[in-house]
Symmetry: C2
Subunit: 455 residues, 2 copies
């Protein structure tokens, strides 16, 4: 038994290229469609809101896409991120399993989101863009883009879901500390926001509404682009630095994972850790299970339809084929705000359809139970989103114990929970409810999915 | 020019011994006195509240004190901590200075405090102690001891200054997540607390009062010890891992610092980064300035007397010779709660009297100005306490610019500000006041210092 439980790569091992799983998938992902024509969109359809380099990445088929040096220079502030073996958690569970976790909470914003925020800010600045508009739910993405904007000298405007804006003043303060402007959504600044407020002046907002507002602002202002923190192919691409580093670190540790686990909301942190391992499976036949974990209250991969849908509420975005609960679906309240999204990364969805990944949905109380156990054994308090991955890793370890056989488990600890401590307070005081989604409302939302001509 | 700006040591370079500056000082520090007899205290006087290993460290004269392996194993969760060169801050300041910072915010509790919390919890567990009592102001120490207690299976009870208890529910949540009990101080649980509440039922509390409560509980319960997060020699000792690592990392970077900077409240993070460099100066004649930075509203080193004083309000502690504002001194409100203490580490005070260290006091607005600049250039949002070190580093860099000569600056970034974002919101909205202490009240507090027979 070694006494090394933390696996650190030197700075020069930050990956020089992102990994594009599209190059290795046995079938290409379905095209993105123009909502007006129902035809596949071209680069020009997206040029009003994205820089061309990101549009190219969205449809790229080459396996490796070089990471620009200025992006790698900023990555060096916190990357390579550490990979730990959770020995104290293993002991607490009395399991023969080996549990490893990649820790992305070391970034300045406390989560994996800066991996793509920095890249997106860079490409936009290179394209001469001065301002970025985006949305945020729990605030992890908004604060990450605010950080990246401050580094590259871009103005950042964040439409923050109103309920989070009011409940999470510290997240807002973080964005403002980085120099960004934070606006509660729905707002009177956009037609999309005004339409919602006209119907419901007390609207608490949703990610779908906030996306509509940010896209509208970007579409109407030539000096402003839009940035999205998950779902899209280029976002998943940028996050693959997580898995690429983890592969090297697992080699240092001397173990190959039997299962790789990530929580999944829009799918980017899951894709980030899982796709590089899946690539080795596809190219070299390496055996590995990959498991996406989602909230039972917003079970996109396990209960959604695989269908074309809009990314937002106001239906300003193109149509993407993905697992979706329908853009009008409103999940019941739960604490992992970063997992409250009706859709799922088209690449993750496609991989699921191809049988390459497993998915499971879990309630929040068992997630916080696992998060608390993790905090008390490993010291790091996981973000509410990340507790979903912790829960699944603990369950895998308990299954190994029941079997009496070792198993190597790797999960992505996507962020720390220092901005989300109210969730732990609620859990400790027994106030957290495990609410299920409304099955009838889900069916209605699915019935309202856009009709798309024969694909 | 190299493109490496982060200097990481491998895990096996975590120091194997703490550095004890007492071995190298040209004169021994004055003894600690028994408040009843006025005579130097012996180990037995402290045995009711501290384990013998820590008492021995308090008076140790050997240069190196071995770090127990179980402590190093926990250190590995986040140590060695990174040392960065702040190239983007240098560019923002357009300075010829080279600015380096050691980042202690990577610990699970987000500050340097776990360096000693883990050691203290370990020695107490080894001594058969089941429970620890302590106090906390801003919450960094309380959450660090809670973390360490959870790792070593000790119950931790934290008396939290009431104003912070009410203003910082996230810090409290963090302690509770680690399994600790958090009690607003003054409380009805102790004679010290009841005495304060009898005089002033609305008392907001103070660190001095909270210390009295925790010491009282520890003194009265054989299974309970007391733990202090700063001031004492053994605490400064444990923090020297910061400077010991930094020396190696500055060698990797190829520069020797002209000045080493730390913020100073009780003095432990300052001692942690500064003492190992001072040791090289004392033993090998290496040239280095060391600079302690304190809040202008609580200017212990720059305006306090060097005199024997109590560590707490109820005068339960031994008398220590230190820079002090008097135990009845109440600073005006400011955000760096971790620097709101009337006294200063006796070792730091002694070194100051010996002319080995410089000190300066700064107001909070210029500190947050520097903290904001740091966040927007380097990405990390400093804790309010740490902004004092940032301010002084920026001032050194500006002085180098005015001189037109390079200068190498190293400061300790003792923690991140994710739990203290309200301070940034207040700064950004122009609400932060730079209040001065009440000079008459300070004089009265100094006049009331205990009379100690000829030393």
């Amino acid at each position: 038994m070694t006494d090394t439980y933390k696996f650190l790569l030197p700075e020069n091992r930050i990956p020089r290229a992102w990994y594009n799983i599209a190059a290795d998938l046995p079938a290409p992902p379905p095209p993105v469609l123009h909502p007006g024509t129902g035809k596949p969109i071209g680069p020009d359809d997206l040029a009003a809101i994205f820089p061309m380099e990101l549009i190219k990445q969205e449809v790229a088929t080459e396996r490796e896409i070089e990471i620009p040096e200025p992006v790698r220079e900023i990555y060096k502030l916190w990357r390579p991120a550490p990979l730990h073996r959770a020995v104290r958690l293993e002991r607490a569970l009395d399991t023969p399993a080996r549990i490893f976790y990649k820790y992305e909470g070391v970034s300045p914003a406390g989560s994996h989101k800066p991996n793509t925020a920095v890249a997106q800010a860079f490409y936009n600045r290179e394209a001469g863009i001065r301002k970025l508009a985006t949305e945020t739910g729990a605030g992890q993405w908004g604060s990450s883009l605010a950080f990246a904007g401050s580094i590259f000298g871009l103005e950042v405007k964040v439409y923050m879901v109103k309920v989070s804006y009011n409940q999470k003043p510290y997240r807002r303060a973080l964005m403002e500390t980085y120099g960004a402007t934070c606006i509660p959504s729905p707002s009177m600044e956009t037609a999309a926001g005004r339409a919602v407020l006209a119907q419901n002046p007390d609207s608490n907002g949703s990610l779908g509404i906030a996306i509509s507002e940010a896209v509208e602002i970007a579409a109407q202002n030539p000096d402003t682009n839009y940035a999205l923190g998950s779902v899209l192919n280029h976002v998943a691409l940028h996050q693959t630095v997580i898995g690429l580093e983890a592969i090297e670190q697992m080699e240092m540790a001397g173990f190959w994972p039997d299962v790789v686990i990530g929580c999944a909301g829009g799918g980017s942190n899951f894709a980030g850790i899982a796709f590089p391992f899946l690539g080795l499976k596809l190219r070299e036949g390496k055996d590995v299970r990959v498991l996406a974990v989602e909230p039972a209250a917003c079970p996109t991969l396990t209960r959604g339809s695989y269908a074309y849908d809009f990314g937002d509420t106001a239906h300003l975005t193109p149509l993407m084929k993905m697992h979706t609960l329908g853009s009008s679906f409103m999940p019941p309240g739960f604490h992992a705000g970063g997992l409250r999204y009706h859709g799922m990364s088209p690449l993750v969805s496609h991989a699921k359809e191809l049988g390459l990944i497993e998915a499971k949905a879990v309630h929040q109380n068992p997630c916080f139970e696992a998060g608390l156990l993790f905090a008390r054994s490993e010291g790091i308090v996981p973000a509410p989103e990340s507790t979903h991955a912790v829960r699944a890793a603990v369950d895998e370890a308990l299954a190994a114990k029941a079997e009496g056989k070792p198993r190597t488990i790797l999960f992505n600890l996507s962020g720390h929970g220092h901005f989300d401590m109210q969730a732990y307070t609620d859990y400790l005081s027994g106030k957290l409810e495990d609410r299920d989604y409304d099955a009838a409302a889900l069916q209605a939302s699915l019935d309202a999915l856009p009709q798309v001509a024969a694909e």
